[in-house]
Point group: C2
Chain length 197, copies 2
């Protein structure tokens, strides 16, 4: 295995509390999923995911045997969810339209990686957020390819200028985050969750 | 039970194919969930949901016993997911910050309803989309309050001028759909899914 160019995560990535994953994922951003099968890393694009629980932070997602990443996720029980900014829209689509069985996507798309805190799968240092996950429950994998993941570490890139996430509306059409609504003062029942990233 | 004011769904709601649910939900819009416990309807706000499968269209979501709607969903196995436009942001938050055990939310918030095609829970005629669902799998309900729902009917309101959906970034902050990216021509592996709503 050729040594990949890796940036020091602390140079661009700030570690944040794993419990803040819901602030990143609840809005439904398109994500890229990094795995490592022991021989080499791979990456795919994914839109079927959700938060399941705040504490410990659990995420559900759908990754199937039709995805080259499935085998590595099954075997290693680990993956990184990386949340790209809107400036990476074309990369997000192109990563999702070729297979790691045929190409080295990191090389093809010039993706800079960084060492994760706890996993073997790489972080994507040019993404806004990286979430390190381990498989927590695979009860529904055979039936629906539905994994329940637990967040064990999370990272924020404060350097990227483009802060808008992308949302997939199906079929290759996306919107970026638009007008912001701050309605925190109306969250009377859920005040305990008001924290900054 | 007082008869509620209901609009004729066909007046404002156009039925669309259930298989298009992923076009509505994959981007992660905040949704309102309507249930009916046999005596009266209720409504809650929900951000933990995802698409699971295109055909038949399956959705996963998290609704727990701390939600007044939980009992009705458990007993009837039915709910409607209604997707509000950005003009309903305050209503979305306020609906999520009171309990149907204490107030009639339809009356308090002046929510117009319409008859669903197949369920007892009402449609919300002022929302952009309504998705009628039945519980398909409750394997993970006790453990994670995770329901797998099957879409059996779906509706689009073409009349509302505000077309932007809302995405919850946690803690009462939302963004509306912003800049649009049309990258359909790069979806070379997934052409079969290119259909209009």
């Amino acid at each position: 295995m050729r040594k990949r160019q890796q940036s020091e995560p602390k140079a661009v990535l700030r570690q944040i509390d794993a419990s803040k994953a819901y602030r990143i994922l609840e809005s439904g951003p398109i994500v890229m999923v990094c795995t490592h099968d022991g021989a080499r890393p791979n990456i795919m694009t994914m839109g079927f995911h959700m938060m399941v629980q705040h504490a410990p932070p659990l995420i559900a997602c759908v990754i199937g045997p039709w995805d080259h990443s499935f085998a590595a996720l099954r075997e290693t029980g680990q993956c990184v969810l990386a949340v790209p900014g809107a400036d990476l829209a074309r990369t997000v689509v192109d990563v999702g339209n070729c297979s790691g069985a045929e190409v080295d996507k990191f090389e093809r798309f010039g993706l800079a990686t960084a060492e994760p805190a706890k996993l073997s799968a790489p972080l994507l240092s040019d993404c806004l957020y990286n979430i390190e996950c381990i498989v927590h429950d695979d009860t529904l994998v055979d039936k629906y390819q539905l994994f329940v993941l637990e967040v064990i570490a999370a990272w924020c890139n404060d350097v990227r200028k483009e802060r808008r996430c992308l949302h997939h509306h199906g079929d290759g059409t996306f919107t970026a985050d638009g007008e912001r609504f701050d309605l925190r003062d109306r969250m009377t029942l859920w005040k305990q969750f008001q924290v900054d990233l």
